[in-house]
Every structure is written in structure tokens, then in C-alpha cells.
Amino acid sequence: MLIAGIVLLAVRPSGRLPAQTVDALARRFAAMTAVTGYEQAMTDSLLTLLPGSARDRAGNVTLTLGSGAPTRVVFCPLDEVGYVVGNITDDGYVMLRRVGTVPLPNPIYDQQLEGQQVTLFGRRGPIPGVVGVRSTHLTRGRPAATESPFTVDNAIVDVGASSRDEVLRLGIAMLTPVALTKRPHVYGTRLLAAPAAGRRAACAALAAVVLSKPRVRGTVLVAFVVQTRYQRDDLATLSNLHGPIDIVRESTMPLVASLSVKFEDTTVETVDLADADVLMKNLVRWFGAVR
């Protein structure tokens, strides 16, 4: 049964997935939140999307295509720098702790939260909230507030609750992941803007290739990797859990499926979905060839 499945994978024409499917997948992935170390909701979605995939002991979603030597690996990082609940006050406000890259990716990384809608991924489902900001009117005629950028230490999340108990009843607790509410935004000619849009579009291209059942020479380990923005060595973990891997670097194909972006690590990180098409074609070619 397994052998028959592999044969079918091998004879199916490759790279036939229409571009709009890549666009749809990229938008879908960009709408998801995967705070580094708290990626389970997104990895659950990938497990559902990709038949035959499994979650490894590190939390990565992996899939093995083809058989025999050599064994190669291609992966995309799917996590993002984000926030978790660090404290809940008696009067129902929520404080945050950042999780991920230190130092900050850019000076206004945290400031992008100020005065914006956020989503708290509580135990009873997503809960909307906002990050407070001083009212413009009430600052007039008073000494100017600090000119330094807003930081996570200034972030106070308001979910509309009036007490700690009301917050807890919503399913929000310590370590609940929190992120800007994701609403991917397409502008220009297939430009996708969203937090971590580049990573998500690259993962979408990789997933689209897997779904297109490409021709595979040898064995390819496909991995959607978690905790890359924390402290983990992605390749070492994959090798330890899935090794041995024969070929980890090739001149014609990057090991990491990635895309160049504009406005990196901002709310409007922008990726050109035409580049995702190119990545997809390169991946299909790479899956079927060994140099």
C-alpha cells in the first residue's frame, strides 16, 4: 500500500498547482499566528492540510517524500516573534512579555502594537482585545510624553473586562499567546502585506509543492520548523530527530525555503507572490533532481 502510494506520487505530473492556490495558501498562512514556542495551532492546521505529515518531538511538522538515497532536507521556518500574557491586573488589564529575538528586529517592533487590535489565543478560542494608547485629546496642553519608541513594557491589553476573574473566564491565562490581529492585505500586483508574510509565503510555496505530489528523486524530508526565532539550531534538531541527512546544502537550491521581502519584521512585511511562484518552480525542479 505504501509502495503503491509512492509510485503514484512519482508518476503524477509535477508542478501543476495553479498560482491562485499558492496565493490562497499564502494568505491563509499569513492570517495564522505562530508565536515562537507556541506554534501548535498553526502546526495543527498544517497536519490537517498535508496528508502523511506528522509532528515530531520538537514540534516541527515533517513529511517524508520518495525513498532511497540520497536523503535531502528542505524546510521553512513558520514561527514569529510575538508575545505571551505575563500578568493580569486586578482591574482586568493584561500585560505582555515578548518571546523571540533579542535585540528587537527593529526599533519600532513593539511600537506596532500601540493602539491596535490584538488577538489573545486563549483556551476557549481567540479573544479580541486592544493595546491601550493615551487619548490624543487628553495629551494636549500637557507636557509631551516620552519621545522614545513604545516598548512591550508599555503595552496594556484591554479585552473589555473589568476584573481578573472576568479575564480568566474568557480562557485567558498566564502564557496565552498574543499577536496583532492578522488581516493579510494584498495590494499592487500580488503584493502580500502581513506580519511574517515572507516566511508564510515561503511555507505556502513549499506546502503547495507537496500538495502537487511532485516527482521525487531519492528521499526528501520536508519540514515546517518551529522555534527558529528562539534559540534552536534548526538543522541540528532535524538531523538529530530524522537523520542521517546526506545532503544539506546545494548550490542550486537553498536548504531553507525563503523569499526576499520589503519592510521586514513590520506589520506590513511585503512579499511579491510572483516570487512564490518562482520558488515553487525551483522547489519542484529540486525535488526531482539530484546533482
Binding site: 482591574d91 487628553l138 495590494y187 519592510f263
Partner: protein, 351 residues
Amino acid sequence: MIIALAALLAIQDTNRIAEAQAVLSPLVESYGVSGAEGPVREAIKRLLPAWVRTETDTAGNLWVRAGQGDPVVVIVAHMDEIGYRVDSIRSDGSLILRTRGGFFPSLFEAKPALVHTDRGSLPGVFLPRDSLSLRRAPPGLRASVGATTRAGAESLGVKAGNTVTMPKHFVRLAGTRATGRSFDDRVGCAALILALRRLDRSKLDHQVIFLFSVREEIGLEGAAVAARALGTTPRRVYAIDTFVSADAPLELPNYAVAPIGAGAVARALDNSSITPPAYVDSLAALARARGIALQVGTTSGGNDGSVFTPFGVVDVPIGWPLRYSHSPAELIDLKDLVSLADLVRAVAEDW
């Protein structure tokens, strides 16, 4: 019996909240930067009761008249919102922006944008700063619609004078609270619509003008046009506008502390008008008589009613408490909108 009565009242409350949201939500999700209030005006017309006849003046203000005779009373809420307009298009296709109204530009930096062209709303982005500036405020904000040349942007319908906003979403929060952008002053507009829907016209023994004004955020310009047109005819004006509340964790508690969810607020003193104390007392008495929650407070900002006062018209501004004003995270309690609508109706019918 008492339990059944309580259950009935709870259902009525829920229905009132649902109606308030059904009116407010489409208003909040309409776009109308000062001077470009057309979509909001059309949304209001769709939400008004069937008996209403509207007029639009040359400034763009929308007028609704009910009842006849003196004293004429004006109840005004403004349709416009803060935002940007395109000042010019650079050779690289990016748009140089100018603010319309007062707000923190940092709240728009590196966010999705909509450029409102003659052909419709065009998606784009507010560009992040291109330096590693360590200041909170961005050094002049620009937007991009993805074009790389001036001609490319123009071919998409972009031109100087187009207004630019951020996409908006009305979102319910815990309990009866909600968030969105431009609650200031769509809540006021919603209160007038809800009051008109429930207005008992047989009770009106004088004319009440419900005015939906333009260009409040850039200097009360629309209301000034209406005030000049009416001259000394009105006796009183009620500006139904935001009570910017210090009931928020980042604010100083010196004044403006009107808790959200505790009802409408008599905006007795702000930066543009002082309500005569006897009128505040009278308004409070009216609210008590009708069983309407009313707070009394002082806050910052100006109101449309203030431009009527040079004509000897008494300005009685009434608001509802708002957290995080002029931000994408404005936050209200829908109970306050219900209370405000009831008070507007009471003012029209009984005062």
C-alpha cells in the same frame, strides 16, 4: 414574578444592544475623512426611518427636520473621521501624506492603507520609516500602492486630494464592549438615528433639527456653515460627540474620569464651551425623570455646538465615554450608546 420581570428586562436590554450594534457597525465600517464624508452620509440615509426626509446643504451637512414651531433646537453629530489626504505623488510612486485632524501618526506607520480614489478604495500600505530613528513619531508619513513610478500610481486612479485611511473593523469585546476606529463620532450619528427611530413625533411642539455635520475634525467647519445659515433662530444646540474618558490605564486621573458603561455624559466643560450650570442641572433632571443613566464631567476637545454660541445659542454638549480616542483601538460600551440615544430622544421630545 420579580424573576420573570427581570428576565423580560434583560431580553429588552439585549435587543437594545443588538439594535445599537446593527446601526453602529455599518457606520464605523464606512470611510469618511474630513471633506470626504460621502460614504458615511449614504450609510446614514440607509439607516434612517422611512418617514424621514433629508436635505444635503452645499457644505455636505445632512439635515433632518422634525416638528414645527419655536423654539428651534439643533442636535448635531459629526460624520467625519481623522485620517490623511494625498498631498503629492513622488517620482518613485510613493504618496506624500498630510494629516486631517489631530492624532498620533505613529499609530498609522507600517500599517495597511486604503487610498480612496474616484474609482474606489485602493489597497496600499503606510510605509515604515526608512531609517533606524529611535523617536516614537515617524519622520513624515508616506504610503505606497505598489507602484514604482508617479505614472504608475496615477494609472491606478491616485491623485492629490485623495483621502487615505486604514482598513476598519467593528469588533465586539467582552460583555457589551466593542472596539473599532472612528467611534468618534459615529456613535453620535448612531445615537441620532436610534433616537429618530423611536421618536414620538406627536410629542414635538417645536422644530428639532437633527444635523449630521462635515469637517468637524479640521475645525468645526460644517457646523459653522449650519450655524451661519440658522443665525439666531435656534434656542439651544446639543452637540452629540465623544466624551474622551480618562477611564483608561494610561491616563492621568485629574479629570475626564467617566467610566465606560456608566451611561451618557454631560460634557459640561471642554476646550470650546461651558454649559451654563442651570442647563446641566436641567439635563440631569430630565435624565432622572426618564430613568436614563447620565454622568456629568469635563474633558478636552472642542464640539460642533460651540460655533452656534456667537449667535446667542446655548450649547449643551452630551457625549459618551470613549477610551483611546483617535486611535485604531477606540473602545466603548454599547450600553452607553443606548443611554445616549434615549437621552437624545428625551431632549427632542421633552426639553
